[in-house]
Amino acid sequence: MSDTCKFKIDGKEIIAKKGQTILEAAKENGVFIPTLCNFTGVKPKGSCRICSVKINDRFMTSCTTPVAAGMEVESNTEEISDLRKSIIELLFVSGNHFCPSCEKSGNCELQALGYRYQMMVPRFPYSFDKKNVVATGPKLLKDQDRCIKCQRCMKTIKDDEGKRYYAFKNRGRDLEVVMDEEMSKTITDELAKEAMENCPVGSIIYKGVGFSEPIGTRKYDKQPIGSLIETN
């Protein structure tokens, strides 16, 4: 029995390994599906919902749904593109994102997706909630204005015992991702940098260095998000 299968995304034939998710298979076949919470190597959680696609007229998250032979997936339709745009807008209005003053500008996936989906004025009113910046740890600060609760830091930044440096606090609109105070005191340099790196936005910032790479020359300044996948 072969360990590959074929299915379609927007009519394009995709060859996938069995057990892969739709998102992984799409990426390998040059089809870009946006995602903010998925992270290679860790179990997906499907919390940003931006990778939603339609299968049999039902919305499914492509980061959690395994491929199946013959499946027909809708992804780049007008309806789904607008849905993705609305989720980007939702994340913008529910936080306080001021790109020009953000250390992650140009390396920020939310910003890059905003450009890709041509977000202009969000359809939703801004909430302008008052949120904190927590900077008590020696190496990292956590800017709650920018956090999109993607859980990447929670899933990837752990100590040798598997204890998590980051965890949720509260629920619903009051949900926050917070750093463990005790553990933040002893985090290694390497892990602290990884935490900043893994954050899709500018919510986790490594202290002491700022703007060492000038804005305008950063990752998505040169290559719009998704373009590398699509040219492969």
Partner: protein, 626 residues
């Protein structure tokens, strides 16, 4: 203190998946979970302090700040509000001198508001130190606070007589009334307890049991309606070291209280249903997940389990059947509506936040501790016992062709006889209203806030526009001939919550706003959509109610309601239903509020906005273009 924490941890084998139980014991012992305790738990359980706090801060009934000696959790569900919640709340505050959300300075009284506690037929109700107080009035609230100040025990604060049936059992001792209004095949007292386990199941093979349940077409009674036989069949075929049967007794949909009544009067059927399910699927672990609000039943239910163990109805070789080993424990929840969703319930049982899982895999494939897990509703399991006793053919004589058997409806709101009605599937809304003695009805909420708001007046609705068409697949059809609509899987499927509103009620301001607040409060926050949109939509509704809305706002709400449908779980997907359903069936109420039917929002009236300043400085406002 350290010793006590150690003892608690050891009781649960220092197992982080039992964190909910551990935290309950800490709450009982110390009244709250201190920073010191969190450090101790973190060290021994080998999870970070932030992870311990993650679980604590998710649940309503855990606290990392000191709570009071007497903690009053007053229920703010819609029927409670219709019956004087605000006055009762005020009386509590005035008499105690404490505002809700706070603890008095002397640490004696804490006042909190909480979501539906399953007492909609006798609200406003409150939980005070795990005891339930029903039918509260301002007078009773004042008496309670006076009693607390006099140093009375919680038991002494209840001067009402005990309720009926098992509510008066010494282990319950509660003033709750069952309010059973109509009985049929499930709520039938004419049977011998546990006779199916004692005399019948050994006559059937596990496969035959599944076959009977499949033939009866029993479907999940929690609301989703998944075929029970199929679930058992899937579960029985999944490989796993253990197999788990979970009874979902976390009924949290505002307006339902049927599980409360079943667990009070017929819990033997529920436990027996679990035993039958275990026999059919070769499961060896059983858990009943009991919502925290029903903690007053815990001892009583445990006594029933003890009876079963003593009579070989649980344990090893149940009733002499070789290799049939199965036991049940009760897992107490901690106050979170979302835990009624089966995968969130499992997460909670593993000591975590009640955050729904992505599917696939489904719980029957990988559930509790990754074992194949079958989660069934209280009513489903009890029904299964009747089916095995009397056969599928007998069961098929009840209900309609697509919905067999009976359904318990929890009826509350504006009617003379709120309570539990066991009806055959296929009963119409009109019949239900007549049974309950409802007059002057304006609207009926079927299926709780996540369900449908039915307009019994049959107003001409606007289902012809494109936007309206979109909503059809979601099962939220605008109601025509609403009176004749039927409670059934093909028309209006429901977990059984029926809330009635008469013509004096302000549907948008009182009902829809209350439901939206509920979803905002109870969202786990994981999905970007459900975390943010209900609040944004509620603000928009508020704008309309306050007379600042324009027609476009109504269309915006309908459009935004589509976005939320991509959320992971049922709560998220239905969190906009109060607004969507009321636009579909009560659009005229929105249009009455919308400003002069304008299409655009001109934000403010210049002349009005500056009039106060003008009069202050004695200047006149002159329109240059007039």
């Amino acid at each position: 203190m350290k010793e006590k924490i150690k003892a608690i941890l050891e009781k649960y084998q220092i197992d982080a998946t039992r964190l909910i139980d551990i935290l309950h014991e800490v709450m009982d012992e110390f009244g709250f979970i201190s920073a010191e305790t969190i450090t101790l738990l973190s060290n021994d359980l080998r999870i970070s302090e932030a992870q311990v706090k993650e679980t604590i801060s998710f649940y309503h009934f855990f606290s990392d700040k000191p709570r009071a000696k007497y903690n009053v959790f007053l229920n703010n569900s819609i029927t409670s509000c219709l019956r004087g919640f605000e006055h009762v709340k005020e009386a509590f505050e005035i008499e105690s001198g404490v505002k809700f959300g706070n603890v008095s300075e002397d640490g004696l009284i804490g006042l909190y508001v909480t979501s539906c506690i399953g007492m909609n037929d006798q609200g406003p109700a409150a939980i005070i130190n795990d005891k339930i107080f029903t039918n509260l009035t301002p007078y009773r609230a004042k008496e309670i606070i006076k009693g607390i100040k006099q140093g009375k025990k919680v038991e002494e604060l209840i001067y009402e007589a005990n309720g009926d049936g098992n509510n008066a059992h010494p282990l319950m001792n509660t003033m709750i009334i069952n309010n059973i209004r109509r009985k049929s095949l499930l709520l039938d007292d004419n049977y011998e307890k546990f006779e199916v386990t004692k005399n019948l199941i050994s006559k059937y093979s596990p496969q035959e049991i599944i076959q009977i349940v499949e033939e009866s077409n029993l479907r999940g009674r929690g609301g989703a309606g998944f075929p029970t036989g199929l679930k058992w069949k899937f579960g029985s075929k999944m490989p796993g070291e253990h197999r788990v049967i979970i009874c979902n007794a976390d009924e949290g949909e505002p307006g339902t209280f049927k599980d409360r009544v079943i667990l009070t009067q017929y819990n033997d059927l529920v436990f027996e249903g679990m035993v039958i399910a275990a026999y059919a699927t070769a499961a060896d672990m059983g858990v009943l997940y009991l919502r925290y609000e029903y903690r007053y039943m815990l001892e009583f239910l445990n006594s029933q389990l003890d009876y079963m163990r003593n009579n070989n109805l649980l344990g090893n070789s149940i009733n002499g059947i070789k290799d049939f080993n199965f036991d049940i424990r009760i897992q107490l929840g901690a106050g979170a509506y979302i835990c009624g969703e089966e995968s969130a319930l499992i997460e909670s049982m593993e000591g975590k936040r009640g955050e729904p899982r992505d599917k696939p895999p489904f719980p029957v494939e990988r559930g509790y501790l990754n074992y194949p897990t079958i989660v069934n509703n209280v009513e489903t399991l009890a029904s299964a016992v009747r089916i095995i006793k009397n056969g599928a053919e007998w069961y098929k004589t009840f209900g309609t062709s697509d919905s067999l058997g009976t359904k318990l409806l929890s009826v509350s709101g504006d009617c003379r006889f709120p309570g539990i009605y066991e009806v055959e599937w296929g009963v119409s809304i009109k019949e239900v209203l007549d049974m309950a003695g409802a007059e002057n009805v304006q609207a009926v909420q079927v299926g709780g806030p996540s369900g449908t708001l039915v307009n019994v007046q049959d107003k001409e609705n606007h289902s012809k526009t494109d936007l309206m068409k979109w909503y059809k697949p979601s099962g939220m059809m605008a109601s025509r001939k609403a009176y004749d609509r039927k409670i059934s899987y093909s028309d209006m499927a429901t977990g059984g919550s029926i809330i009635i509103f008469n013509k004096s009620r302000d549907i948008l301001h009182d009902v829809v706003m209350n439901f939206m607040d509920f979803f905002i409060e109870e969202s786990c926050g994981s999905c970007s959509t459900c975390r943010n949109l209900p609040y944004i939509m509620k603000q928009k509704l508020l704008k309309i109610i306050n007379g600042h809305g324009v027609r476009e706002d109504i269309d915006d709400l309908l459009n935004w309601g589509k976005i939320i449908k991509v959320s992971r779980c049922g709560l998220g997907q239905t969190a906009a239903n109060p607004i969507l359903s009321s636009i579909l069936n009560f659009r005229h109420l929105y249009e009455e509020h919308v400003k002069a039917m304008t299409d655009y929002d001109n934000q403010f009236e210049l002349a009005d906005s500056v009039s106060a300043a003008n009069s202050f400085v004695g200047r006149k406002f002159i329109h240059h273009n007039s």
